[in-house]
């Protein structure tokens, strides 16, 4: 039970570090890096929370989890109750506890963080979810009384999954249409096993199926059937588009088509979705290479870098045109990458890719940058330094500079309003698009963002859809989530 401590004493308890596999061992395996708290660690960490009357942490969580309440339950050893609190607003805590950029979200606003290190909210969330996973005690949420309405969800990433779960609870018949042969979106094809074990994703998806949600894989909306067909011919009463940001960007510099130059999507798909790291036991090959460089420094880049190490590369280089401070990756990933021995070249941008006569990449020419005036995003703009070019020899180059919206659905759906970047425009309170009955959320609306934002959007859309089905149109202006 809770100890009787003064706030200062609580704050002074050191934040409990995350147990992790040893860097030297883990750089050669695909097992999960962060091992998770034990019950003792979790209860001790929970003591650090001040149980604020005005909990700022909640403002930092995109789905507004009642953080002090669930932490109190952890402190008291009532882990199942803690989970119930979390599940009121977050259906996938085992996933969010692992991949949320907490330092920018809940933990960034935690009051303890003002003077000391913030309460490890994400790790506690993961702990609580893992207890359930290990004990297999998950209660499948009950599906609501059958409404008779049918909803089609396009895409099985976090936005589609959370939208489906919510709609099933309202009692609607839900079918998820997924283009690939496995559901999960980025959670399955993008984020590697060592950061998010695929068993966890599978478990959550199976729970969804137990709630009665049907999943149709190998169904490419826009090709196998259009959005219009889903409504007109297949008889769905509403449609949710959660197709993500799956279109890889290249740099547009010479030599990008040499063999061994991969988009991050291709590299990660070959390895995660197709299990290329187990070739020849699995049939999909991937080029390994002794020296691998990755362009970019977000989460996607970190995943590529650390994957390359695990595939057996000797030297793995990160090329980023700004500095560590501007790096958009989660802090934990950046630190893990550093510990594992990634060679970071900050303020460095590729200008040309070189290859041999057989068409294989051999090196990349880069230029050093310096930071100039702030740009539109508020970050200082990198400016090339004349005469600072040099060449880096390598076998593989992975481009992880971002993704855009895949136009398969948007271009095959006349009347769907898009912004100039090709993202779908929605009413933010209902998530309805310019086509009545067609809703959208997640990366296809916001551009590449985060798992929790996509989940939150799926949930808001589910409510919009529910209201639309009941009244024929969603009520605009209702407050966000919860």
């Amino acid at each position: 039970m809770s100890r009787d401590l003064k706030p200062v004493e609580r704050m002074k308890i050191p934040r409990h570090p995350m147990p992790a596999q040893d860097p030297l061992a883990r750089r050669k395996n695909f097992q999960e890096v962060a091992l998770g708290y034990t019950a003792e660690m979790a209860m001790e960490e929970a003591e650090r929370c001040l149980q604020c009357k005005k909990p700022y942490c909640i403002d930092g969580c995109p789905v507004g989890i009642d953080i002090p309440e669930f932490i109190k339950r952890v402190r008291d050893g009532e882990f199942d109750k803690a989970l119930q609190v979390i599940k009121r607003t977050n259906t996938l805590p085992a996933i969010c506890g692992r991949v949320c950029p907490q330092e920018d979200q809940c933990e960034s606003t935690c009051i303890v963080g003002k003077k000391y290190k913030p309460v490890a909210i994400g790790r506690l969330e993961r702990f609580v979810a893992d207890v359930e996973l290990q004990q297999g005690t998950a209660k499948i949420p009950v599906r609501g009384e059958r409404s008779g309405f049918r909803v089609a969800i396009v895409g099985s990433g976090p936005s589609g999954l959370s939208c489906a779960a919510e709609l099933a609870r309202y009692g609607h018949d839900v079918t998820i249409f997924e283009a690939l042969h496995k559901p999960g979106g980025v959670l399955v094809y993008g984020i590697p096993e060592f950061r998010l074990p695929k068993d966890i994703v599978r478990y959550e998806i199976e729970n969804l199926q137990k709630m009665g949600v049907e999943i149709r894989c190998n169904f490419v909306v826009g090709k196998t059937a259009t959005v219009e067909d889903l409504v007109e011919e297949l008889g769905y009463d509403a449609v949710f588009l959660g197709t993500g940001a799956g279109l890889p960007y290249f740099m547009g510099i010479p030599g990008e088509n040499f063999i061994g130059v991969y988009s991050a999507n291709e590299y990660l798909t070959r390895i995660n979705l197709m299990k290329g790291y187990k070739f020849p036991a699995y049939d999909t090959p991937v080029q390994v290479g002794k020296t691998v460089a990755v362009v970019g420094s977000g989460n996607v880049a970190m995943d590529c870098l650390r994957t390359a190490l695990r595939l057996g590369a000797d030297h793995v280089i990160c090329l980023y045109r700004r500095t560590r401070n501007e790096s958009p990756a989660r802090l934990e990933e950046l630190e893990h990458a550093e510990e594992e021995g990634i060679d970071f070249h900050w303020l460095t941008a590729p200008v040309e890719v070189m290859g041999n006569d057989e068409g294989f990449v051999t090196s990349v020419r880069v230029i050093k940058m310096e930071l100039g005036e702030p740009d539109a995003s508020g970050r200082r703009r990198p400016v090339p330094i004349d005469g600072s070019e040099y060449e880096i020899s390598l076998d593989t180059l992975v481009i992880a500079i971002g993704q855009g919206p895949n136009p398969l659905v948007t271009h095959s759906t006349p009347g769907l309003e898009l912004n100039r970047r090709g993202n779908i425009v929605v009413d933010e309170t209902t998530m309805m698009t310019s086509i009545p009955g067609v809703f959208a959320g997640g990366d296809i609306v916001t551009g590449a963002a985060t798992v929790i934002l996509a989940m939150g959007a799926g949930k808001v859309a589910a409510r919009g859809i529910h209201e639309y089905l009941q009244k024929g149109s969603p009520t605009p202006g209702t407050p966000d989530h919860n």
Binding site: N218, T224, N257, P280
Partner: protein, 286 residues
């Protein structure tokens, strides 16, 4: 899941499969393909839809055995369930041009069938030139005869039709009767390259169907990228058909060889694991 309902060996190392995939059959248009996956450990590979039957809910694939996946598929009995996604790619642009020459080589003859059919239905005069190394590799002759107003055959060894390459037949055709209005060429990259080189000085529009390596087939990975008119295009969504005069075939051919070493390893392992007579016999022919 889709199901293999029938299969037939139509030539040495060429299998024709009928696959139950009603949603794909319903939407299929000439020029489109599917991505297939044989099982959990498999590789996703693209195969062109050589025909479809909406009533029966089936599609036809004609597949040449070249490596692990296509060899393994050949061993699968009817009734086997496989994953099939499609129809993918942009359908062939069909129009009434006048005289159209359809050139097919090897496994490329299969995808040419529905295109020739659509061209004929649109009122074109279709002349088909089909080529192969030897007579029995010039596949689907009867089927193509049903769609073409005139047939020309070529074999490298002269065992059937005229001896030589499809480009020789095309040259004679142009010399004898002047320019056709458009040429469609589908086959090995090298064949499409030489057809395109041949037609370019004559100014004959030439459509080719590119067979780059793919994974998803939906524009998500960029692995299928090619250079067309100095612009990078994704074959799976922007194609597979492109203006042959704009395609950088040398780049395509290089990129096709990306995994040569791994493919050979997989093939050898597969042969070792399946020491059955049929495969050994095929091995002898190589």
């Amino acid at each position: 899941m889709a199901q293999i309902v029938a299969k037939e060996e139509i030539a040495p190392k060429f299998m024709k499969y009928v696959i139950h995939a009603p949603e794909v059959a319903r939407k299929h248009r000439a020029g489109q393909f599917v991505m297939i996956l044989l099982h959990d450990h498999g590789e996703r590979i693209p195969l062109t839809i050589a025909g479809s039957d909406r009533e029966a809910g089936t599609i036809t694939l004609v597949v040449q055995e070249v490596g692990k996946t296509t060899m393994e598929m050949a061993l699968m009995p009817p009734g086997t369930e496989i994953e099939v996604a499609g129809p993918l790619g942009t359908p062939t642009h069909i129009e009434k041009w006048g005289t159209v020459v359809c050139i097919g080589g090897g496994a490329g003859i299969a995808p040419l069938l529905p295109i020739a059919g659509a061209l004929q239905r649109a009122g074109n005069e279709v002349i088909a030139i089909l080529g192969g190394r030897t007579k029995e590799l010039v596949i689907l002759r009867e089927e193509m005869e049903g769609f073409a107003d005139e047939m020309i055959y070529t074999t490298d060894d002269g065992s059937f039709g005229r001896k030589g390459l499809v480009t020789h037949a095309l040259t004679s055709l142009i010399e004898e009767r002047g320019n056709p209005d458009i040429v469609f060429a589908i086959g090995p990259a090298i064949m499409m390259k030489f057809v395109s080189l041949l037609t370019k000085p004559y100014g004959i529009p030439t459509v080719v169907s590119l067979n780059s390596i793919m994974i998803d087939g939906t524009g998500m990975c960029g692995c299928c990228r090619v250079s067309v008119g100095n612009e990078t295009k994704f074959v799976c969504v922007d194609g597979p058909e492109f203006d042959g005069h704009q395609v950088d075939f040398d780049l395509l051919m290089k990129r096709q060889r990306t995994y040569l070493a791994q493919e050979e390893e997989a093939r050898q392992r597969f042969l070792k694991d399946h020491q059955c007579r049929a495969l050994n016999a095929q091995e002898d022919q190589r």
